[in-house]
Symmetry: D2
Subunit: 503 residues, 4 copies
């Protein structure tokens, strides 16, 4: 396969693949031209184009190929590399106003890179070497990797091997000398149809009894045995109505599908974990560590929503009111809190044994936990500025109809110098981002992606080093009379990172 | 017209009317059978059925007819009447999970009743008497009244008479000895197509130059000269897809339309204000006073959403987790705060000169202001409990398809004893209420209906009696050495109502 | 004892009692003239004077004596009685800017009244009759009752009878034919020294093994065997410095003490529960039900703080800024939310078997739970408006000193027409209410009084009727196809009260 | 003067100075031994000791002296230098649990360094060179610099030259060939008495008419003409009671005083601005930019408070309850949000023309704005965990008295293995930090230091680049059909810094 170099080439690379994709109960022949799917492909295409337009931001030099590669395929070699992921993510959020779906793969790459290194170190296996070969190939061809992690889980109170139906978590059904066969399903996979490869990984901590579930490997998106069932999003069918107004953001959208694996084969050279169940939690935790601060992208999406709110205030002639300005300031304050917590997590990265860098886990969780709340409040404020009309606007077809179009033109007029259509368009964008298709990504995915709020609280609690803090308090309260040396030096502890002076 | 006595009779009463209704650029022939419109009609029908099922709650004895009438048509004779409106509203919110659209008319009736009394007192006009006659007729026939208040407003920085296009606020275009002709448009009218009559009212404080805009009158919904353009809602077309799952709440929904009035005639006996511009603000303020605490309905809708969140937690097998229970408790706490502030506003009602009761304006505004925030947080928590699947669920047609239905049946299973379909249904209901069709009513209408947040802040500020409070502080600080008699006695002041002992 | 009729008579009634009171390690001879204690006595005195000044608000007609009595001693005969308690509480909060300490007794009276009725009904005991006699006597003499409930508790994970030291909960140590002897300690009793009688009650749910702890009885404040150790408050010694500025609120303050009971005798006729352990929880729950909505008093205190904040904004010349006005509006909104939730709880009262009324438990908990948060935010906003000077102001003695007083006069000047001293006084009042002596009552007591936040969450959870709400949701989701009759009729259930039409 | 090298030497260096200090209306002879002042001196002493104990963290190599100097005196040469300030601040917050008072000088140094460079560039003056000489001297001797910025301001609506009393802002009263004389007062100066030098600066944007107010210079703390009037803090006199328990944090405290300047002389070589009024705003903005993210110190203080809350939960035997753990997690989440936003601001520093680095202004404001809220919530949660006893605890003298001490020992016991005194000590520390002396620093100073909340909102609003954001939205909404190059390149703009790839 020739290296893909532009968004257009990427789009073309998705044509003519034999995928089993279902949507509305029917098989989809051509995902590229499907009006409901295409926006999600466009969003990924932006990741290619940005790498050309702003190469410093969106590409990097690979230590494996020695060449400039897309940053989404890069293994972080330094703190700066981790930070630049965040900056690129914000930029793409600004350009697409939605989820551009390529972060899962990036974060999976980076977490598996260091984890496979540590498995090999313990067991003398060859996973890391194989994985480097796979990465090198992906970089050379500039392909899109989807990370397939979230099992459907069944009864949440039971471990994988305890489920009545063993398939509720992806597992090995057969082993041959050439490789393994896996069965199961991954729920709501972001950006799978528009990927080239899927990296299959476990979704939770595993025990010895779950050994068959401890499988990591790469499979092509069009591998035999995979069925995709496309997920519905709020207002999804508007993209099939023919216009470009009611859809809100005509060009870009997200994508999530259920990926059902029925005895899918993974050859040995593409297996990167096989039974080393005790490393499942390391992989999951490193992945979520990367992925939770990847939600900095939402500050880029937030920029768009703040811009939309400021625009509608102006169109309504209300932008001079002090409470309007104050709400825009508040939205900005909240939005930058997302950015700042993410950047701090990336900046406080430390090298793993493999040499690849890992963000600060405490701060990555703090970032994501803010993301489970702040976009909802920004969204609420955007609806405040928009006015009730954002949810009662007549349809695009009414606006364009000969019979009643002129009435809407007349009566939906705001400030006289602004075309009524512009006012409608910006209202539809706000609807799209706060209730419609991209609210899925901006709100609910912000809540649940990379782990639900409670998952972050658990991680924050694990790292909060209460004993250290109690000692601080007890000393000042005069309970511990003698000053102890309380500085934590272990870089693996949070305060070890905080007080590490090698900044 | 025969008195309507059941929901079914009400639905039938809406057939065969000649309405000019547009939706998706086309004329709608039969609103009753239109799948996208019908749910809003069903919701109003509930207001009839409840009056039969729970008459104490949803009906009252009219002082005009002496008969038991629907509470939505009743003029409040006591504090208890005001309180019972709230209780009925919560109940209907529970039964429909949406906006049942009949409160605007109820609140318009009550505010116009006392305002017309005071206009007559000042000017010796006959508006009040005429209006009583109109009310009596409506009660006898048990009809639905839509209140048409919100003008489209154009440039928000200009008064009605200053707009380039005079029609941006509804105004009198011609006066004859029989009545007046009015032109203009009312934006996002809740429940208009499914009403029998519209009560047209001004939307803001008016000045002498706006005299032609100071018009209040009743017009039949099918009056000549009216064009309705139906508003779109998030996910609205799902109701046209044929199933009953993806739509979330198959039976009930809200309705909002733009009402365009082109020289619509109002005969003298149905005119209740005509030029008395200085009473526009009284009417608006009394209406918003009633209507802001009418948002207690959202606590009923909130009951449904809490129930849905508790159900999905149970279906997922996660209902025993302490953080889940805590979130349900928080949702309840917030939901009951809405109810309590509304009930307090109703309970602290006082009689107007006309004898009809008016809720406490401060507390009504406090209630509504909470409603601009709390449902958003309740909704966020519901999405937290639902899990990401709420926005990535495949379609009903996939679930029912022969090809992939069994895969979804297998992989979307939660707790084993719960049918997968039940899990899907409850997730779709949560989607419906937090992003879909009924999120329009539960969230955005909660924000903007009866005035946007800033409107409440202005009213709260007007009534907060800072001078009285300053005096309290200055006395305790020793600045005012001599105790003054600081109890406020005027019932028109907020603290007059607070410390009124006639409870 | 002659009936007390004025605040001054009340103050005199506290003189010359033989109390064992300790403060700063020393015995206090005369609590009435002690500068640190006196403000708390003044606050209670206000409850007498208000009954004279505003009798409708602060007194009631006793069904036992047939005479007008202080409302704090009244057994609620109607919903209106319950509501009027709240109105009186807000008024006293306004007049004192602090905790006036007489609510615990009022709420204890009312909860014991109905509980003793139900014990008698079950066991044929005479507690209720005895208690009525006691109430009648208290009403006739117009005395102050302190409720002594909060045991010191020791190890929170152990039941009373399991503690290593049995005295960590108050219990019976000896029984004679005349009565019982009790030992133990009650922590942070609000208003005990300035009471005439203490009503001792258990603090938690008890089991059969805790029978000796199931004791309720009345003891005079100066009974033999009681030692009081006075609690410190933030900035308490300022009242002993001689001035009236730095103290912030020179006249009024709260009071809390540890009450240590060493074999204190209770004669039979003053015993109102003795071993009926299963009624402990009823008594505690009814008490907290009353007491949690009694925190409406904080809205009165909040009125003072809002007034103080508005005053300092004016003195600084900043009161015209839109953000200042907005913050005052927000403070008011939050403050009225406290009031409204409390009033709603009182209004939704229902009669107990004894005939006395009990507030709505769900709403009482919602009210108190808001009180654990909102005063903190109001306080934060008050500090925002005050400016940093509120915590860096030089002392009153500096201000009055000949050497540097003129410098402070000159440099602490705000708006030129306002005396510098006034500016200082209002700042000291804000300090007093947000960090100083009355912050104890306005903030921390708002948090912990009548149960800490988690206690309210537990009660809210108990009453939230999830099954009813699940049914609502399941029906709308189409899971339950057939409409069930879901209205809850039991008045003992929350929705039974909500939908009770006898308003 | 010999270079100071330890905390003890620093303390000694403060002895025997002739300062005019007033406290409680009296002159203070020896500030070092004054029990109310000493804790603030101890806190600064920690800044010396930490530089010895953790030199990488708390010292740096000066480009001027070539030697290792205290980091508080260092001019930032790199982004890393700016970040390390934050890390040192957090550490000192942990060690002292209070404000250590040396940041104002550090931030003043750094902002004046670059501003004086730019004044010289425009006017050919020699301020920068003089200032470098002054810095070099301070570094060589290792002295403490207090920044004196906040004028008393009088009527906030008038400019300095418009005030009735010209002294309400510090200004030049006389000019001679040797220097200038200044008069006025600086309010609530943090750490002045315990400094060696004061750097006097203007506090607001100035106009040509305010030229005499545009004065920056250094004066020794014991210069002739200065009078200090010590500010009161909540519970300040507890430090004079003799014990070490009730004071909460016996060793450390903050300090704020009013500094009155009466014709104080500044020689030419110590003048760093003199009439260049248009640079006042640059100086103020750069100072607040540094100082607002300096509030990262509060995350260190927060660590202590979280530790205290965790300790009391353990002492009460309540640390296993899920709601307790959840509250500690929430406190940590909020506390780390402060840290993360500050670190991000420091990390996104850029060099000024002088070569010294300046933090990111948007993020510095976001950090400080969070600090005006989050410590209040952390504090509220700490009070929640503490229990009501935190504000009702009897005095240390009672606890130690022979008469009642044993009663408190018995009844204030929590978990049996924890000494009662430990429980009391940790409660007093929580009181100290949430209402007492260190609440001044942790709460109110967090609100007002470096500018009140509105000041941050103004700065955030100035930098939020709405036009850029509007363009993003309009493009996605299809209003701007053609993609424009919207990346902002100017590093002076916020998005220029965000998307700067030189990380």
């Amino acid at each position: 396969m020739k290296k893909i170099t532009t968004g257009q080439e990427y789009i073309n690379s998705l044509r003519n693949r034999k995928l089993k994709v279902y949507l509305f109960g029917e098989s989809v022949e051509d995902i590229v031209e499907h009006p409901m799917i295409r926006p999600s492909i466009n969003a990924v295409a932006e990741t290619y184009d940005l790498a050309n337009q702003e190469p410093e931001l969106a590409s990097a030099t690979s230590p494996f190929t020695g060449e400039r590669i897309n940053r989404f395929l890069h293994i972080t070699q330094s703190r700066e590399d981790v930070v630049l992921q965040n900056k690129m993510q914000r930029r793409l959020g600004q350009l697409t106003g939605t989820c551009f779906q390529r972060c899962v793969g990036m974060d999976a790459f980076n977490s598996l890179y260091s984890t496979s290194f540590e498995i090999d170190k313990k067991y003398g296996t060859k996973y890391h070497q194989r994985f480097k070969a796979f990465i090198t190939q992906m970089q050379s061809q500039n392909l899109v990797i989807g990370g397939a992690m979230t099992d459907v889980k069944g009864d949440r109170s039971l471990a994988p091997h305890q489920q009545t139906d063993p398939d509720l978590f992806v597992h090995i059904t057969k082993r041959t000398s050439e490789g393994v066969y896996i069965t199961g399903a991954k729920a709501h996979q972001t950006g799978c149809l528009n990927s080239h490869w899927l990296l299959v990984m476990p979704t939770i901590r595993l025990t010895e009894d779950d050994k068959d579930y401890a499988i990591v490997g790469a499979i092509p998106v069009d591998a035999e045995g995979i069925t995709y069932i496309y997920g519905r999003q709020s207002c999804d069918t508007r993209s099939m109505e023919g216009g470009d107004i009611d859809v809100g953001n005509a060009q870009y959208g997200g994508q999530e599908a259920m990926v059902i694996l029925d005895n899918v084969f993974i050859p040995n050279e593409l297996i990167f974990m096989n039974g080393e169940y005790e490393f499942a939690s390391m992989l999951v935790e490193r992945f979520t560590c990367f992925h939770r601060r990847s939600y900095v992208c939402k500050s880029g999406v937030g920029d768009v929503l703040i811009g939309a709110a400021a625009t509608i205030a102006e169109y309504n002639g209300a932008d001079k009111a002090s409470h309007i300005k104050d709400k825009l300031t508040e939205m900005t304050h909240l939005n930058e809190t997302i950015y700042a917590t993410g950047i701090a997590a990336s900046y406080q990265s430390k090298p793993t044994e493999s040499g690849a860098f890992l963000p600060d886990e405490m701060l990555a969780n703090v970032c994501k936990h803010q993301v489970t709340k702040l976009p909802y409040e920004i969204s609420r404020l955007a609806q405040d500025l928009a006015g009730g009309i954002v949810v009662t606007l007549p349809s695009e077809r009414d606006f364009k109809s000969e019979t009643v179009g002129h009435l809407l033109e007349k009566y939906l007029k705001g400030k006289s110098e602004i075309p009524t259509e512009h006012r409608i368009r910006i209202l539809r964008l706000i609807e799209n981002m706060t209730m419609g298709r991209n609210a899925v990504g901006y709100l609910t995915e912000s809540m649940h992606g990379a782990g639900s709020p409670q998952a972050q609280r658990i991680q924050i609690a694990r790292q909060m080093q209460l004993d250290f803090k109690k000692q601080l308090a007890q000393e000042l309260a005069g309970i511990e009379k003698q000053r102890k040396k309380i500085l934590v030096n272990e870089i693996s502890d949070y305060f070890g990172r905080v007080f590490d002076v090698n900044v």
